[in-house]
Each structure stands twice: as C-alpha cells, then as structure tokens.
C-alpha cells in the first residue's frame, strides 16, 4: 500500500530533554496505526509535530507525497491532515452545529466573507451534519458547546476533525476520561471509520488499541521501541517488560 504519512528522524528537544528521539514512521493509506507508550513517552509531542503545531528541531515529514516539514498547522489542515486534542479544544460559546461547521469550512476554504451567515454554506453544513450524525450529536446540534456533558464534548472534538473532511486523522486520546459506554461507542465509530480514513491513534485504553489497530508503534522516552502488528506487540518480550508488564503490575 502507498505510504501516506512518513517521518524521517523527527527530533524535538526541550532544553536538554530529548522528547522526540529520531522517530521514523511510515503509515500506509487506510491503515489505523496506534501509538502506545508510558506517560511522558512523548506521544502528544509527536502529534504536535506531525500536525504542525510544534516545529521540529530536525527531521522531515512527508504527507500525501509532499514534504510538509516546514508548513504551519493551518496549511497542513488544508491538505487534509487533521488533529483532535487530548484536552478538549472546542468553541464553548458556539453551538454544536456551529463548531462542526467551523471546522468543515476552515479545512476547505478561507473565511473572508463578511455578510452571508456561515451556516448558509451548504457544503460545510452538510459535512458538519454528517459528522454530528456519525458521532451521535445530531440531537444536540443547537446546544451551546459549553453546555455539553464531558463525553459529548469529547465526541464534538472528534466530530470537528471528521467535519473537516480529512485524509488523515491524528487522534490524541479520543477516549480520555470517557465512561465505558461512551468509549464503546467511540470504538464502534472508529471501527466504521477505519478504512475510510487513515488514522494515527494515540490511546491509553489497551483494549481499544488492540481491537482497532492494524499496526502499533511503542514509544518509550521519545524513541520508537518497536513497530508491529498487535500480535507481534503482544508477544514481544521487551514491549511486555517495558509497557504491558507495567500495566499488569499496576492492575
């Protein structure tokens, strides 16, 4: 399969601390690639670098056949590389539909329009409504985002990425803090989205990761420890020691 996102020796330092240590990834079109690793492994930093939110100190990123290493986040978003946030990042004063339409519009065209309402943009609204339908937020479309419950806010976060019509989704712990029921719904949603979009998933919920991922990369102290299929990860002695073992010991 054709590679859609590729990185080569990506590095990020905070002072003396090496947060991303020469990370090279190669993610094929249609793949759901999960990144796991203990706390502080640099998973969110990696997402920040891939999305363009954070400039890398060295290394390159190719997306969809082009070198996007120096492009800022808004230009990567325009190319279809969309991210969601671990800490919910939505517009509290806007309605749910406005939030989704905003994301849908922003990824497609500029917003230098000063008269016609944003919600009258048919294409954006259609995409927004589709995303709300998929995430089960349709009945809340008129609610102010700030009035939503926690789980619904997480779903809106996901809906905004979907409404943008992405080629590639960088999902930073989409299930963080969700109830079991809500997580199950999101896992089912991701199961449905799987082949439609290429997805990079950072997630702590191991059941979700092993149920969804085609391949998994284990990140430890900013370094790629191992990349492989879920079965390979399960049976890899070093991974078990570093990561899965820890989980079992904690449980």
């Amino acid at each position: 399969m054709a590679s859609v996102l590729r990185t080569e020796s990506l590095v990020k330092r905070y002072g003396a601390l090496l947060v991303t240590d020469a990370v090279s990834l190669d993610i094929a079109e249609g793949e759901l690639h999960a990144i796991i690793g203990p706390n502080g492994a640099g998973k969110t930093t990696l997402i920040n670098q891939l999305s363009g939110e954070l400039a890398s100190d060295s290394g390159r990123v190719w997306f969809d056949g082009a070198d996007v290493s120096v492009l800022p986040i808004h230009q990567r978003a325009r190319r279809g590389l969309l991210r969601s946030y671990q800490i919910t990042s939505i517009f509290d004063d806007f309605s749910v539909l406005e939030n989704a339409s905003f994301a849908a519009l922003g990824a497609r065209r500029n917003a230098f329009k000063f008269w016609a309402p944003m919600l009258s943009d048919r294409q954006a609204r259609h995409a927004a409504e589709g995303a709300l339908e998929a995430t089960g937020l349709r009945q809340h479309h008129a609610t102010a985002a700030g009035d939503l419950g926690y789980g619904e806010r997480r779903q809106l976060e996901l809906a905004m990425s979907l409404a943008a019509g992405p080629k590639f989704l960088l999902l930073d712990e989409p299930m963080a803090g969700m109830s079991v029921q809500e997580s199950t719904a999101v896992i089912a949603l991701l199961q449905r989205l799987k082949r439609q979009y290429t997805i990079l998933l950072v997630e702590h919920d191991m059941d979700a990761v092993f149920a969804l991922a085609d391949r998994i990369t284990v990140l430890v102290y900013g370094k790629v420890l191992f990349t492989g299929t879920p079965d390979e990860i399960r049976n890899h002695p070093e991974v078990r020691a570093v990561y899965l073992g820890e989980e079992e010991a904690a449980a």
Binding site: F94, F114, W115
Partner: protein, 338 residues
Amino acid sequence: MTSLLSRPSSWVPMLVLALLATVPFVAQATGQQFYVAFFARIIIYAIAACALNIALGYGGLVSFGHSLFLGLGAYAVGLASFHEIGSGWVHLALCLAVCALVALVTGAISLRTSGIAFIMITLAFAQMGYFLFVSLKNYGGDDGMSIALTSRFGPVDLSSANHVYVTGFIVLVLSIWWLARLRVAPFGMVIRGAKQNARRVNAAGIPVVRYQLLAYVMSGMLCGVAGLLLANLNAFASPSTMAWSVSGELIVIVVIGGLGTVFGPLMGAIVFLGLEEILKGFTDHWMVIFGPLIVIVALLGKSGIIGLLQRFDARSKPVAATAEAAEPAAAAAVKGAA
C-alpha cells in the same frame, strides 16, 4: 413579529433607534437645536463603539488606542480643510486610507503580542499620535485647529448639525446591520472563535492572525469615519480627541453596552453620554456618582445592558441555534430562570 416582542434585548434598542430618528424633527418643533448636536455626539460615539466592538467584542483584542483612529479621522478633515480642500469625498478617502494604513502597521506590530502587552502597545501607539499632533504647531498644535471647510458630499454639507446628524444616523444603522450580519458570517465566526480558542482556529485550517489583523484594520477605519463626523460636528480637530482617556471611554461604552453584542455599542453610548449629561446638571463632581454607576453596571453581568435585557427575553428559544442567540449570558439567564 411576536417573536421580536418577546425579546426586549432586540426591540428596546430598535425602539431607541426609532426614537433617535425623530430627534431632528422634535428639536425643530420645540426650537431646541442643542439636542441635535447632543444626540449627534451620541450617534458618533456609538459608531466609534461599534468599530471598537469588532476588535474588542468580537475579536477579544483589547485595544486601548482606538482614540488614535478617532483623531486621525478628525484630522483628515482638519488638514484637508487647512489646505483648502472641501470635498467630502476627498476627506473620506483620506480618512479611510490613513486609518487603514496606520491600523495595518500598528496592528501587525501589536498582534505579535497578546494580553496586557497588547493593551499597552496599542495605548503607546495612540499616545505617539497624540504627541505627534501636539507638536505640529503649523496645524494648531496643542490648541487644535478650527475647520473652515467642512465635508461636502454633493448636496450634503456637514457644516450643518442636522446634516451631520442624518449622515451619522445612516452610518450607525448600516454599521449595526453589518455587525449583526458579520457576527455569524464566516469572518465574524473566525474572530469570535479566536477570542475563545485561537489554537483551534489555526488547527481548523485558518491562519488566525491574518483575520485578527483585518478585523483591527476594519475596526480602525470605521472608527475613523466616526472621527470625520465628529470633526464636522465641532468644526474643530484637536489632539485631545486622541487622548488615552477617550480610548478608555470607548472601552467603557462597549463594556457597559454589552461586549460582543450587536446593539451593545448603541446602548452603551446612550447610557454613558446620557448619564454624563444628566449628572453634570446636578453637580460639578459628577464623576463621583458616575464611577460607581459604571462599576454596578459592569458587575451586573458580563454582557452589560444587552445582557440585562436578555434576562427578560422569552425563554422558549433554543440557545445558540440562530443568529442572535449564541450569547453565554443568555444561556445563563435561561438556566437561571428555569
């Protein structure tokens, strides 16, 4: 229209606008021409406050330097008149061009900062303008300059208070109309979004600073138009229009009217300048009463007068579904009433 009647936050300001439309006729009938000039001043401040509301209310850009644009608008008329140009079109073109250019340059620099630094740097630019005009002795310096050639737009001559009034009223109504449209138009949503969460706007594919800069420029240009009208009303341009206290007054007007609301600047200007006038009639120390009153209005709610009126709005409306409804204060009021 029953839905309109159930929303005092909309019909009260509209009634105020309708009453403002009658002022020249009432003044004519009663022979109290003073009121035309007085209400013209309110209208001009309301336009300036509408302008500031774009940057401050929608965009969350706390500009403490909007008096700069008010002053530049005034001096566009003053300097043109000094050089014997009386065409209103030239005045307007000069005003818009200078305000756009100055806002573009100062905005581009100011937007490299945020928060307190943004407030301070916009204040600094306004002070630079103030001292620049104080030092221009040719153009009256400290004393300001009287304007012999007021703006003439064909048959409309702004030397007459009535003409300033009608022109200002039309500009105000158009500004409010535009602000209402802009609020939910893509551009308005982007700058309002940036006020809440600039990071997310970028992540959505929109380079946020460009939009903020344009908002600042449009805000400065509209404020310049208010300055142009003010200079014609007074037949005078003075550096005191650029004083920092004027910037402060504009912020107070926007805040007590209702930050980021469509009618807030109008209501704020009426209450602020109206109260000032009334209190001045009672005592020379009117500030002693005025200050606490402003504090009370500010404490009553974060959406000011419009927020207060929204508490009386019918509570059937779904929050944030349509154009006017996205105010958090309205949501709070709905919850409070329920």
